[in-house]
């Protein structure tokens, strides 16, 4: 069977990511393991947003909320002496799923600008909640005493083991996401995005499907939050700042909305550009900004849209 250029790009990308720790070792640049792990964590967050934004048409401008909840689940438990990773990460996933359920239940009844504003407002609430709790460092945040513990499985202090775990989760989510959007469930949310009155007229009640997608997306992003705080070893309400939500959305749009692979590429390009440009000048955003504008203007389907994909009809 002939492979589409996009499938080949995916294979090449996965191979490259898999080889990063090896290359870093050879070049004696351990920093790259750190950088690409960070990229993959944000790729997971962007991928989770794309599920509802690209396929469900839900413009969540508060996806950083789930990063924050995942991070706080880990940080708070560690602060109270519970470093068990299974427990922490379960709480991260469950907690963000519950918050997504609450936010989604309200926001999905609205659309357009109202949807954006409600998701933003909830995230701001959580952000200020984070700032106000002095016990957990308030405004300044706090150091994570130890990374999540997975006795008998792996040690996150080992940079390479942590790296491959994140890669594994990213690949798993790419697979899950692809199955999800192509399955009956995905077809319903895509149909509702395409034409909601029509979807209702043929008998679908889109609300519960959209809410379920919103919860799945929140849970995925919550796990990204748990990974992120282990990555930075520092818990801060900044994880939930609205500019963070904006960055995640930028990654999705930059890479290609509604493609799953695109947001991963978007996260890589965004964070690599940030890394390169910020070493060069403190005003790196002056360069990044126009670049994003150009991509949005001239590559409407994002960077991944430049790679042909024969076998993908339907929205």
């Amino acid at each position: 069977m002939a492979r589409s250029p996009r499938a080949l790009t995916l294979a090449a990308g996965v191979l490259m990511l898999a080889l990063v720790p090896v290359a870093a070792e050879l070049l004696d640049q351990p920093f790259y393991v750190d950088l690409f792990r960070r990229i993959m964590i944000f790729a997971i967050a962007a991928l989770s947003l794309d599920l509802i934004l690209g396929y469900g048409g839900m413009v969540s401008f508060g996806h950083a909320a789930y990063l924050g909840i995942g991070a706080y689940a880990v940080g708070v438990l560690t602060h109270h002496g519970i470093a068990n990773g299974y427990l922490q990460w379960s709480l991260a996933i469950l907690g963000s799923a519950l918050v997504a359920l609450a936010i989604g239940a309200v926001s999905i009844r609205t659309s357009g600008v109202y949807f954006i504003m409600i998701t933003l407002a909830f995230t701001q609430m959580l952000y200020y909640l984070g700032i106000s709790i002095e016990e957990y460092g308030g405004d300044d945040g706090m150091r994570l005493a130890v990374r999540s513990q997975f006795p008998g499985l792996l040690d996150l202090r080992n940079a390479t083991a942590f790296y491959y775990l994140v890669l594994g989760i990213l690949l798993l989510f790419l697979l899950l996401g692809q199955r999800l959007v192509d399955a009956r469930f995905g077809m319903v949310i895509r149909a509702a995005r395409s034409n909601e009155p029509r979807a209702r007229a043929i008998g679908f009640s889109p609300y519960r499907y959209k809410l379920t997608a919103f919860v799945i997306s929140g849970a995925m992003c919550g796990l990204a939050g748990a990974l992120l705080v282990n990555q930075t070893e520092y818990l801060t309400p900044e994880f939930m700042h609205w500019t963070r939500s904006g960055e995640i959305m930028f990654m999705v749009i930059l890479g290609g909305i509604g493609t799953l692979m695109g947001p991963v590429l978007g996260a890589a390009v965004f964070l690599l550009l940030e890394d390169v440009l910020s070493a060069w000048t403190v005003h790196w955003q002056i360069i990044l900004g126009p670049f994003l504008v150009l991509v949005v203007l001239f590559a409407k389907k994002g960077l991944i849209g430049l790679v042909p994909d024969e076998a993908a009809p339907g929205g």
């Binding site: 192509d182 399955a183 009956r184 395409s194 029509r198 007229a201 009640s205 379920t212 339907g314």
Partner: protein, 251 residues
């Protein structure tokens, strides 16, 4: 003849000061093609939207197959066998024609909370969908994006989606609107082929289509039915002639 399939009693809907549906009664019998006609602004689409569940009436009762469905939403009514087409073509434009119809099949083929198996490879969805496309004459166009179909084909696709839900009754909002002569003739012939097998409530402006299709005609003016009966009765009704005077002379 038993109970009517659809019974409307005292249906009322107003927008601000405008009464779009005014204490309206209407019966549609199983198997008939019933056309609702009326001058522009008579409230025909508003009526259809209340029947399909897209619009809530202010008062009145809608009974379908003996069940009070007045307070059900559009999806629930679709599940009970009411299917509508829209005046302004409403399809999933960024999906293929086959996808559009397969989605309609899917909505009536068990739970859609299925997360793993690709829906486009489910034969239980694709085959019935292709069969319906064949009946409306779109089988060769099945892999085309719906957005790329001609206007008339998009209207056919909409009817195909409605039929794919296996409805007990079709609600058609101006099915030949905006069509060329050839296209509308084809659509009329197709709808004629459904006659007898499918109960149809038709809202239509095109009098050729109405007289070619309708077993019964109800004439709506200012939100009320002023006359109802067989086409030849309605044609000679003085009140109807009065209402249409100055609009057109087709009657």
């Amino acid at each position: 003849m038993g109970e009517p399939l659809l019974e409307v009693r005292g249906l009322t809907k107003s927008f601000g000061g405008l009464i779009a549906t005014d204490r309206m009664d209407l019966d549609v019998t199983e198997g008939e093609t019933h056309a609702v006609i009326g001058p522009n602004g008579a409230g025909k689409t508003t009526l259809l939207s209340q029947l399909s569940g897209d619009l809530r009436p202010d008062a009145g009762l809608i009974r379908f197959v003996g069940e009070d469905i007045t307070h059900l939403g559009a999806p629930a009514r679709s599940m009970r066998g009411l299917a509508r087409s829209f005046q302004i073509t409403s399809i999933f434009k960024d999906f293929t024609a086959l996808d559009n119809v397969a989605l309609a099949v899917q909505a009536h083929a068990g739970s859609s909370f299925r997360f793993w198996r690709p829906a486009r490879r489910e034969r239980a969805l694709r085959e019935p969908a292709l069969e319906v496309l064949r009946t409306v004459g779109l089988a060769e166009r099945s892999e085309l994006m719906a957005a790329n179909l001609a206007h008339g084909e998009q209207r056919q696709l909409e009817i195909a989606m409605a039929l794919a839900t296996r409805p007990r009754m079709l609600l058609l909002d101006e099915p030949v609107a905006g069509m060329g002569l050839d296209e509308s003739q084809r659509m009329i012939r197709f709808l004629q082929s459904l006659k007898g097998r499918q109960t149809i409530l038709l809202v239509e402006h095109d009098m050729d289509a109405v007289f070619a299709l309708a077993d019964r005609i109800s004439v709506m003016v200012y939100g009320r039915i002023i006359a109802s009966g067989r086409p030849e009765e309605v044609r000679v009704n003085p009140e109807v002639r009065q209402a249409y005077l100055g609009e057109d002379t087709l009657l």
